[in-house]
């Protein structure tokens, strides 16, 4: 982090990006650490919708982390990070942070918001998936909304267990093994009052199983919300061509090479940060053709519009795409 950045609130390169200071680091469990970021000048940070995430830059990479606060006029942004030894390095970089360090973060992004019309919020979390759900629980407690939580964690390894107990009281059901969770889940899925929305966060297979069971029990799609906190491993995909309308050239994107890499190799400079479909920096305008959207950033509606794609991960369903580049 540069010395001149002391004066500026926003990163000079990436507009809308915040430069924040680590204000606290505390161990939640042996492998989960909570980190809070604040404005170096002590100003309030932009508010956020419960369930939002922050993209935090580290070295040349970036990762998305759920904010655990309620989001209204926050003085700090708090995240909790599980250390992943064989990950891409983001979690290790986060765990190496100490108070006073400077970090570049995105503005909070919302992709897991509570439904305004919900009569009740049924929150379901496994492991580190507690983080966005805790944000929902705090928000519900703050605004007097009805909420309950099923939290699956192994004894002694759960983060924010005491927070969850304080916030939800008897609305919290803790499960420490899959068997008891299954029993609780079936009972909860069949006894929720109309107007209940379900929010699930945890490992991909856990979320898939919860959502599938909910659908089987008659839950409409409009009541189901899930937050994937890691980009799934993507396959190489099929080769395709892109026609760059403004440059007047066509380039081939081979299988296993991203569109972003191909564009960079062709001499274009495309803004990017995470290079895994999370941050939204690498959006490119699509003029023709149907992209194969593989990012976690665009909303379903934006994906259906097919006018923008995240070139770091997304590819093409058509043999050729035309881009406004």
């Amino acid at each position: 982090m540069t010395a001149t950045a002391l004066q500026t609130k926003f990163h000079p390169v990436l507009e809308g990006t915040l430069q924040l200071e680590v204000t606290n680091v505390s161990a939640q469990t042996d492998s989960i650490t909570s980190i809070t970021f604040g404005d170096p000048l002590g100003e309030l940070l932009p508010s956020y919708v419960p369930g939002s995430h922050l993209v935090v830059q580290y070295g040349t990479g970036a990762n998305a982390y759920s904010l655990t606060g309620a989001g209204n006029a926050p003085r700090e942004y708090a995240i909790s990070v599980l250390r992943v030894e064989d990950g891409a390095g983001g979690s290790l970089a986060m765990h190496a942070l100490s108070v006073g360090d400077r970090v570049q973060v995105s503005r909070p992004r919302s992709a897991f918001a509570p439904a305004a019309t919900a009569k009740h919020h049924l929150l379901i979390a496994a492991g580190i998936g507690i983080t966005p759900v805790l944000s929902h629980a705090r928000y519900a407690a703050e605004w007097g909304a009805s909420a309950s939580l099923i939290y699956v964690h192994r004894p002694g390894t759960g983060a924010h267990v005491q927070d969850a107990r304080d916030l939800l009281g008897s609305g919290l059901t803790e499960c420490t093994d899959r068997g008891s969770f299954q029993e609780v889940l079936t009972r909860k899925l069949t006894t929720q009052r109309l107007g209940t929305h379900l929010y699930v966060c945890g490992p991909a297979d856990f979320m898939d199983s919860v959502l599938e069971q909910a659908r089987d029990l008659g839950w409409p799609k409009g009541l189901l919300h899930s937050e994937a906190f890691s980009a799934a491993a993507l396959d190489d995909g099929q080769p395709f061509a892109v026609n760059l309308a403004r440059s007047g050239i066509t380039v081939e994107v081979p299988a296993g090479v991203s569109l972003l890499e191909t564009l960079e190799n062709a001499g274009l400079s495309i803004p990017n940060m995470c290079r895994k479909g999370i941050c939204g920096e690498c959006a490119v305008p699509v003029l023709r053709g149907v992209p194969q959207h593989r990012d976690l950033y665009l909303t379903d509606q934006e994906k259906a519009d097919n006018t923008t794609m995240m070139c770091c991960v997304s590819r093409s369903l058509d043999p050729e795409l035309e881009l406004d580049l």
Binding site: K119, T191, Q192, G218, K221
Partner: protein, 161 residues
Amino acid sequence: MRAASQSPATVTGCEPGFRGVICVSFGAANTLADHDAGGMPRQDFRFASANPEALANLRSVLERSCVGVRLVLAGPPADVHAAASAVAECGLVDEEITLLCDEVGPRVIFCGHCHASTTTDHPIGTDVDCRGCATTLTFTDHFSRRVGGYLGFSAHAEEAA
């Protein structure tokens, strides 16, 4: 003549935690007699019209039901849409509700200018005079669940502007 299911005794007959199909018909004809509930358990309710008492009964049925339920509303468009608007307040989403409107029957037109509701027998695409501000309104099939009616706008809006 009032439908038997309007009595509180019948309403409480819907077991708590019901997750099947709730079939509600308004008006004289029992439109839903042959409705296929897809093998799910069903509960039938018949009301003369979507009056406040009927809507209160319907809401209390829904309050005792659980997610997984499907609601079918059938009868004259004005009744069906009044009921759809009332149940939207219970938090039901579109996927949970099926609206089966009789082809003919009164519709409610919601004035986009003065927000008064006007009931009409006119078919979609025709004009009607607003009961509130007397503006000649044109309405299309744009039905708003929020206001429980079809949205009507001045038929001569372009000329006025």
